[in-house]
Symmetry: C2
């Protein structure tokens, strides 16, 4: 291993390509077939790689599985935080902006490939790998919920919303935005753009009926003053 000197971190190039295609194929197959139902030959075929290569890269089936869950968790979290950073802190049109945010969250984090796969794996194997998914729970909901809640708290503080408990409101916001996608999610389907938009629109409207200020920002300039009830 004398070449460790200059390239240091970078293993061969094609090597990395194989690694990625193994991970891709494996998440696909594990999701479709469940851990027990998946087999290595299937993954190898789908990855366009020989079985031995998978063993070279990951050791065994279980290690491969763990690697995939970690990978998905990481990627999904990154996506969620990226999307949270687009939260409308200074909304021009509160309803439209929140709907757009809800749609982004759904499309980029929940309905996309990674989101769908991670959800499925958690549901399917969550009970069998408590420690692994405890990790997910901490990194995922444990960090993303509070981040969203903080954004809503800020929005309320700025006078755009009338919220008692931002944590509750944040969870309800997401629940409402996804209310009409539940059955599709259950069966492992992917809702199309229209469905996502519909659900988000209905959800945000209800959310604003519950938490919106009575008079929109346009008429009263200083709504922040007396607002609390």
């Amino acid at each position: 291993m004398k070449l460790g000197v200059s390239p240091d971190i970078i293993p061969p190039r094609g090597h990395e390509a194989k690694r990625v295609s193994i991970m891709d194929a494996a998440s696909e197959v594990f999701c479709r077939e469940s851990f027990a139902g998946a087999n290595i030959d299937m993954i190898a075929a789908e990855a366009g790689v020989s079985r031995q290569t998978i063993y070279n890269h990951h050791g065994d089936k279980e290690k491969l599985f763990v690697a995939i869950v970690r990978d998905l968790t990481e990627r999904c979290n990154a996506g969620i935080f990226a999307t949270i950073s687009t939260f409308p802190d200074q909304p021009k049109d509160l309803e439209a902006d929140l709907i757009a945010f809800a749609v982004r969250l759904n499309q980029n984090c929940i309905c996309n490939r990674d989101g769908k796969f991670l959800r499925k794996l958690i549901q399917t194997e969550g009970e069998r790998y408590p420690e692994l998914f405890a990790e997910w729970r901490e990194q995922g909901p444990g960090r993303t919920w509070p981040a969203i809640a903080a954004r809503f708290a800020r929005l309320a503080h700025a006078g755009f919303l009338d919220i008692d408990d931002p944590d509750v409101a944040a969870r309800q916001f997401l629940a409402l935005a996804n209310a009409e996608l539940q059955t599709t999610f259950m069966l492992g389907g992917t809702p199309d753009e229209d469905e996502v938009l519909q659900s988000a629109t209905h959800g945000v409207r209800t959310f604003l009926r519950a938490f919106g200020k009575r008079q929109p920002a346009a008429s009263a300039g200083k709504q922040g003053a007396l607002a609390n009830a």
Copy 2:
């Protein structure tokens, strides 16, 4: 089969007991291990029955699985409809009554053994048995959602709520009532009574902020007069 005359429908007694204990054990194991991960010996052991008995009763693994899904679907549906029939059509205290209803729905239909198992099986195997779960979709959400929506429509018509689209409102009601149980559901856990009550309380409060009449029933005496449903 000469004894078919008087008992007619009733097969032997102990026979039926075995059947039940096989179904119980099998749902347990299929849920815990997924279809592919479950094995017949495990089920036999858990049922306190020999493997051969399972084959005598159900033919093969897949038939057993199908029988279980149908059984769970049926039982869950019955529970949901029974609970829907307790919907508060003439609420004394709208908030309290809706909270109690939401709690009943959760405890009796969603968080109980059957509900948990059916949900898990749908999530886990839904993609692999499209026809089987299409059946569930028709019998389940296809019939229960409209039934709940009809109840909300009636409540709105009677002047207790201000609802545009009862179908949307019904889905949002359930989404809100379960908003705080999502993570627990994901990981296959069973929320305790307090969690269910908390989530229902928060959810119903938000629901009523969105859809409740501005002035509570107390002040205006005759909202019931114009009601017809």
